[in-house]
């Protein structure tokens, strides 16, 4: 990694975590005096999937790969954003309804870049991050969510 890249990377934060995500903490990692727009996206465990009532969710990760992939996605997001104000955390393990599975915070001088970069990040997470999700249903059964074939960069 060259000097310029190192400097650019200084504020970028990415983490796979088995502890609850604190949205406020993720949000507070972004923002700068030159930024006029801040955007925070939260993915939250829903009580339904298609028509089935869900009461719990379990995320499994290939952690040794998910960590560098998430970092890579954050760096790509920073390039699109035009700033290094990018923070992303993805939860793994067992989650209850209403818990945050993913938090993405970005900030930029103008809003268009924040919206575009935030959306890019969540779409790429769904395409490229080696994480799987098993739903537990209220009837006691559980099943892996179908998902999409994983893609490289």
């Amino acid at each position: 990694m060259d000097q310029a890249t190192e400097g650019m990377a200084s504020m970028i934060h990415s983490r796979i975590t088995s502890s609850p995500i604190d949205p406020q903490a993720v949000l507070s990692r972004v923002g700068a005096a030159s930024d006029g727009a801040v955007l925070l996206f939260l993915g939250v465990v829903r009580d339904h999937a298609d028509a089935r009532a869900v009461d719990s969710l379990e995320y499994e990760a290939y952690v040794e790969m998910a960590e560098p992939v998430l970092r890579e996605l954050a760096e790509e997001t920073a390039v699109r954003l035009g700033t290094d104000r990018v923070a992303v955390e993805h939860r793994i393990g067992s989650l209850a309804i209403g818990e945050v599975s993913v938090a993405i915070a970005v900030s930029s001088p103008h809003r268009a870049e924040s919206y575009e970069a935030s959306r890019y990040m969540i779409e790429e997470i769904k395409r490229r991050l080696p994480i799987w999700k098993r739903e537990g249903y209220v009837d006691g059964s559980r099943a892996w969510v179908a998902g999409t074939p994983v893609e490289g960069p």
């Binding site: 290939y62 892996w144 179908a146 074939p149």
Partner: protein, 94 residues
Amino acid sequence: MTPRGAFLYRPGMDSVRTLFFARYRDLLGLGEIDIPLAAPLSLEQFVGALRARGEPFDRLPRDPAVAVNREVVRPGSTVKPGDEVAFLPPVAGG
């Protein structure tokens, strides 16, 4: 991009650390196995040899998504002794 798994290559190793996640782990009833390997194979040869071991490995798809040394690889990639190979079912993060 620097291959992120480059540090994994351990010269002299004669096997491939092979990982199965989520649906594949459930399907095989196992999450990890070391597969002996003396010389490089194409990814397709490696998968074919693994499936040829029979139960439970023949339950894997013929053309699965695979990461070698923590990078998703394309068909025709090479698997070498010392590599880490992971079978990745369709992902569902977010």
